[in-house]
Symmetry: C2
Subunit: 249 residues, 2 copies
Amino acid sequence: MIKVILLGSGNVATHLFQAFSKASEVEVVQVFSRTLSKDFPESIQTSDFTQILEADVYIICVSDNAIANVSNQLQFENRLVVHTSGSTDFDVLDAKNKRGVFYPLQTFTKNKAVDFKEIPICLETENAEDYAILEKLAKSISNSVNKIDGKQRKALHVSAVFVCNFTNHLYQIGNEICKENNIPFHILQPLIEETAQKIKSLSPQEAQTGPAVRNDSKTIEKHIDFLTDENQKEIYKILTKSIQNVEKL
Amino acid sequence: MIKVILLGSGNVATHLFQAFSKASEVEVVQVFSRTLSKDFPESIQTSDFTQILEADVYIICVSDNAIANVSNQLQFENRLVVHTSGSTDFDVLDAKNKRGVFYPLQTFTKNKAVDFKEIPICLETENAEDYAILEKLAKSISNSVNKIDGKQRKALHVSAVFVCNFTNHLYQIGNEICKENNIPFHILQPLIEETAQKIKSLSPQEAQTGPAVRNDSKTIEKHIDFLTDENQKEIYKILTKSIQNVEKL
């Protein structure tokens, strides 16, 4: 049985708690939360650093800027303490403990359940001998456990911003254009899903379609004329140019 | 039985042919192709405008710039002729025939099968009385048939560029960053799929996560420093700014 303590009560902590609760080899013995959260049983919550129990792994799931502060306030030494951040080195964690990273590569939103089995978990430990326990913990909830060093994790985090946050923003622009023209946005959903599925069997370069990659300047002109929002026009132009540059390589 | 003739032999013609072949109410009696294509039975192909047969609907599936030319060369009058373009008015078709649009809203790539049942088909006819036959034809292959006027279709086409072509380009950038750091791109696939699925239950604005929407300037700085490609840096900055502008509205 792996005893886990979660430090933090946001989206990542909530989703990890739900996933670990279903894993028979793991027990979440405590959740540290500044204020009482309804997302965890009251009986296991504490807001007092001096009341933190003993556990095999301490997982700090707070905003990147707060990781160092939480780890500094821990009252114990030489235990395994990890954070869940994609863009933070493990050495922001206080060196009094054994350090590592447990980074689930997914977009977490409150009230939107996710299937943890499919979520890649990226692990790094300062000391090789700590890897096995993190790996066992990760495998208890996910089928995709990956040893990823600090530089790779940062690369993944940047990539995730492009393929998730920026992509979602393009969906939002599509949504705005549809709204202005009284078109239900869900009409674009099959296209959105096919675009996401297509790259399972083709590389993104092979999968590219549309006026930019065809160098169809007439359609590109028409689209830019059609758009009334300057910001949308600018994004249209820069991404069109970028697609055309790739094709020239 | 609806008799259909396809004019063109590219991706759209090929996918439509495959879909109509499974529809019991439709017969593709001929395919017009400049050169013999192995994607259609040889017996139904012609490259001679004077040999085109009689049919209920003629579907021109050629590049946008070639639509007018193909429609001008048709040797008959007063029959229903439609194109499949998202960004082209029906009046580029020669007025000697009854005109319309049959626009399947999907990304078609050779050798990548698609399930037509899920593909929205957007219909427009010059004359109200022609709508019923196009609707029957569309319903024979798709569960999503939509009456969409010319301006709406253009809006949809522009939106599709954002949510499909531009999104795919962001996947490509993610792929490049992964490659440079020896990370298998498929590790991002669950995130990509969840991003596409999430907007079925949340609006894109509600679904937004990441450093831009959190105004996490420290992480944004780190990401821009991490990127070595000037083009990627520029796209990162402009999309981050755009996400932050939306949130301020």
